[in-house]
Amino acid sequence: MSAPGATDASAATAGARGSLALRGVRKSYHGTEILRGIDLDVAPGEVVCLIGPSGGGKSTLLRCINQLESLDGGVVAVDGELVGYTAHAGHLTEASDRETSRVRRNLGMVFQQFNLFGHLTAVQNVATGPVKVLGRRKAEAERRARELLASVGLAEHAGKYPSQLSGGQQQRVAIARALAMEPAILLFDEPTSALDPELVGEVLAVMKSLAAGGTTMVVVTHEMGFAREVADTVVFMEGGVVVEQGPPAQLFGAPRSPRTAAFLRRSGGEAHSGEAQDADSDAEAAIS
């Protein structure tokens, strides 16, 4: 089976796998505009952290990137290949379900609520994509799944069901499940927000090692310490637009927009409602 995403279009635009481009992405819910025209470029191997207040559109943007939400306007391209749409002369049409799912293989996603398949063991969770979607042989896929579980520190837990694992362990299985598809880009949607504070570190450690390994990553996070340390680019979103983006040293050290500065003051200091635990661990990370 050929490498997913290795089409003519991607070969023409990018040498290395894992570039992502968004142009004018719009999304509305019940008449409210959540995304008001987002442009974003992510180079292969780049780690981008999306930060900003809740309701600012970060998670929606992530779900639009892999078409879990349809776009109301704009385009998303992975290695030069449109996601969810097909270009014709003069117009776009919605791609078929099969076509969209094929492009999605290049986009691994890790969810805030883990979303492990409850009826499958950890190793089955990881192997099911390669077996059912890529058509790999089961024995080979499970062997590879065990390797991936070992790489996230869960070798002994391969046979357990999600309900028998802690939140941090579940999230690490979810990361292994995404990696098993060998995606060009990994999307993380607040991967540590649903975790107890003492479990946040183990997940962030796995993500750090992935970033160091050169995986293209787009991470929606409230973990300012992680963004500061790991991101190549930090993007601040508020009210459905990209307010500011830049290297972490510049964005955290000398934000150009007063809105960015105000958000950083808020999230660095007092906890806003419902995110006390994030703010706490942010503070800890900032201290260390």
Binding site: N66, L68, D97, R105, F111, Q113, N115, S163, A178, M181
Partner: protein, 307 residues
């Protein structure tokens, strides 16, 4: 001596040393007498139940020798077979139609959804008895049913009275009625699977159909199996109602026999014994099915609760 006195005893007076609570902890525990709370009601209610039971069992109308004579008679056994056939066919076809209805409702097509809602409104809103009699009398609306293909000069079909036998009318009525309830059961199963499961399945490159087939349905099935077991037992008992149109089931046969020999009560006892036996068997089967599923279902439910 009350406990407050014990607690205020001067220190160092007994085995517990200086701690009065430790002395209390060392005392043997005796249970309270349960003669009044447990044995009296048990004897009174038990005696009452036995008296009522014996009054029925010993009544001359029971005619136990007749019960014994007919319990395993070929006609009754044939009726039991028909009842089982009704039950299995109604369960299977009703479930199938229920799934189709639910898929139609979830298709996102507003016309299909309205049709399904209307169907469920109609078939849950009218008594099964009325529906059965209705199908039995279908010939009054359509004396002839069939398909005519004018181009070929061909007509397939015939007299409604010949085509829709009492058995078929009973089956149609049971299936259409059951499907309305099955659709609700199936719906509950799908609602129990969080939408994040579909998101995660799509995120690893599954199509919508693959996500349903490989991820959602296996988990929904675990949720709907226990209510399906209850449906099976309900259907088993509900089939007795087809006797009003002579469906040929156990109850129909029992009625036919007591129409001839006037042993009304004895034949009702025969039918009741069979229904009890079948329902007991089904309950035992359900128990084992659920016990087999219980471990995995608990896992699924716990996983959800943990989220």
């Amino acid at each position: 001596m009350t406990s407050s006195q014990l607690l205020t005893d001067p220190p160092g007076t007994a085995a517990g040393g200086g701690d009065p609570l430790a002395r209390l902890a060392a005392l043997p525990l005796r249970s309270r007498s349960r003669i009044l709370s447990r044995w009296v009601p048990a004897v009174v209610v038990g005696a009452l139940a036995a008296a009522i039971g014996w009054a029925f069992v010993s009544a001359p109308a029971m005619n136990w020798p007749v019960v014994a004579e007919y319990l395993f008679s070929p006609r009754i056994l044939a009726g039991v077979g028909t009842t089982l056939l009704f039950t299995v066919l109604t369960f299977a076809l009703g479930l199938l139609l229920g799934i189709v209805l639910e898929v139609m409702r979830q298709s996102g097509n507003p016309v299909l959804r309205v049709i399904v809602d209307g169907y469920i409104w109609l078939f849950r809103g009218t008594p099964l008895l009325v529906q059965l009699v209705f199908w039995f009398n279908l010939a009054l609306i359509f004396p002839v049913i069939g398909v005519r293909i004018p181009a070929l000069g061909l007509t397939i079909g015939g007299s409604t009275n010949e085509l829709v036998t009492p058995f078929l009318a009973a089956l149609i009525g049971l299936v259409l009625h059951t499907a309305a309830y099955m659709a609700e059961v199936v719906r509950g199963g799908f609602l129990a699977v969080p939408p994040g499961q579909t998101d995660a399945a799509k995120a690893i490159g599954m199509t919508s159909l693959e996500a349903q087939r490989l991820i959602v349905i296996p988990q929904a099935v675990r949720v709907i199996l226990p209510p399906l077991g209850n449906q099976f037992i309900d259907i088993l008992k509900a089939t007795a109602i087809v006797s009003v149109i002579g469906g040929g089931d156990l109850m129909t046969i029992a009625q036919q026999i007591y129409g001839q020999n006037y042993q009304v009560i004895a034949m009702l006892v025969v039918a009741s014994l069979w229904y009890l036996a079948l329902v007991t068997l089904a309950t035992i089967g359900q128990h084992f099915l659920e016990r087999g599923l219980d471990r995995s279902r608990r896992r699924v439910l716990k996983a959800e609760a943990g989220r």
